[in-house]
Amino acid sequence: MRRVGRSWGRYPVTTEQVVTLLDRHAPLPQPDHGFALPIGNARSYGDSCLNDGGTLYAIRGLDRFIAFDPTTGILTCEAGVLFSDILDLVVPQGWFLPVTPGTRFITVGGAIANDVHGKNHHRAGTFGHHVLAFELLRTDGSRIRCSPDEQSDWFSATIGGLGLTGVITWATIALRRIASPWMSAESHRFANLDTFFELSQASNQDYEYTVSWIDCAAQGNALGRGLFSRANHAPNPSDAPASPPRQRIGVPVTPPLSLINPYSLRIFNWLYYHRQRKSVRHDTVHYQPFFYPLDGISDWNRIYGPKGFVQYQCVVPPTAAETTMRELVRTIGNEGGGSFLAVLKQFGAKPSCGLLSFPREGTTLALDFPLGDQRTLPLLDRLDAIVADVGGAVYPAKDARMSGPSFRKYYPSWEAFSRFIDPGLSSSFWRRVTE
């Protein structure tokens, strides 16, 4: 079936032929339209899950569990199984995902191909660190079983490999034990970036999950003010309600204009910062609103209007982190751009296992920019220059615009990686940054 494709950022808009895979034992159908690319749940923001003019192998049809051992927490499933399905199955049995991004509507294959990270990066590393094995199906029909000690070069090329090394058909992952679905969380208001770094340093040891939201509109002494959240899995509280809070509202249509503009942003950010009256707040919260605040609003990406939006996520190394973050936030604030959610977090030192993995030691900043705003793209180029200068990197899963030279600077192993690319696969992203 032909489809007009969009990723989560609703930009760019592409056309491809979609072929749904339903049987992991079957060979890959030959694409009759150019190159193919596996696609998971299209929760990447830019064009790394798109393949304009080509074919998409829709992996969501491979959504079967294969084996789960509730005594060891080792789960094997097909690559199109969603994190939300895994949670529904394992949380009642006392297990949790070892690493999860800010949405649970992603597939296991997508999580591997972007080597995703979560709020526990400083402790758990990336998702790839918890992958015990998977099968790679190539367009020539060959199947490669990969693990840290079998075909380990294919293992590390495929983790973070942007779907280009072949189709992951199934994977085995190691889950993490939990005592309850509840989190014991704290939120600290901080006045500026210096305090963020202090809080982060002080929390990384004792808190499994840390993340901050910052107000990009605040400048001067308040530059980088925000809320710092840190949490651990909680024991079962005696007074816990039986089920998670039901909150699913939606954005039913795309408004003709972006609802995000400098005025609404400034107001939102001010309200968000001042929402919390005390400087520290303790809560016991269910894991769903804690990890997935945006999953409660379906199609929230529509608020940016018909032109869509880009997300920008970069990481800068620890030595340069404080000065570079200040420079980035100042540059963004000066433009009046920035977003509802500017997220700041310190990554840990554990090296990622993928050749092209994004996470590396340092501090990461992520925010949304509406594409309706003409200043956005030039601003992002300026941010790129700052990040490249200090040896940082930008996240392909959230990118629709970085230049080829920037990509190759951020990911010097791209040439070594190229040898593992399946000759039948390609993506809009890959063509953009390498051709």
Partner: protein
Amino acid sequence: MQRVLIIGATSAIAEAVARIYAKRGARLFLWGRSSSKLQAMADDLGVRGAVAVGHASLDVNEIQEHASMLDRAWNELGGIDVLLIAHGTLPDQHQCEIAVDIALREFATNATSTIALLTLAAQRMEQAGKGSIAVISSVAGDRGRANNYLYGSAKAAVTTFLSGLRQRLSHHGVNVLTIKPGFVDTPMTRDFKKGALWAKPSAVASGIVNALDKRLSSVYLPWFWQGIMIIIRSIPESIFKRLRL
């Protein structure tokens, strides 16, 4: 614990139904065509909570094998509480107009095989004096349309057969459910352009299990198809014949 036999088990709708029963801790027997697909499905249902999952493959058009296959399922499950018949094909109507053998083969897959299966299964269920039989028919069986009347007439045969069977078995404690889905996004309808009327297999599956639990006689899924079909059925034939729908 419910014992569930599904024929055409690897159908997208049937698989979604099986997952609901698995989560409830049912015992299942899956009858399909492809043993690798059946094995993958059985493993999945086991992880999701099914107490036991057996499976076997057979083309439903091998009617002489039906009896031994049903025996096997009945024995493996130790009796059956729910029988779901879900297999089907969506024939190319144009091919059915130019080739009699294709038309009859498609009618056999969608109607004759189902009537054969129901005849044997009804004997067993009648004897047991309890349980439910559910068959996926279609809104297409409510009225013949130019672009799929071979399929529609096969589904109409099934619907009418079920209506009679329901009357007969209602005196024996066995419920018979006719399921009439509208447009469902499954491999069968892969090449169709999808719009607002299209439903997901998981949504149709919960409607099916709900109707089974309530021992309903007939159900349109999603519900709004009932209204659409009342209108479509009420159009006089003299006008209907000129419509393009």
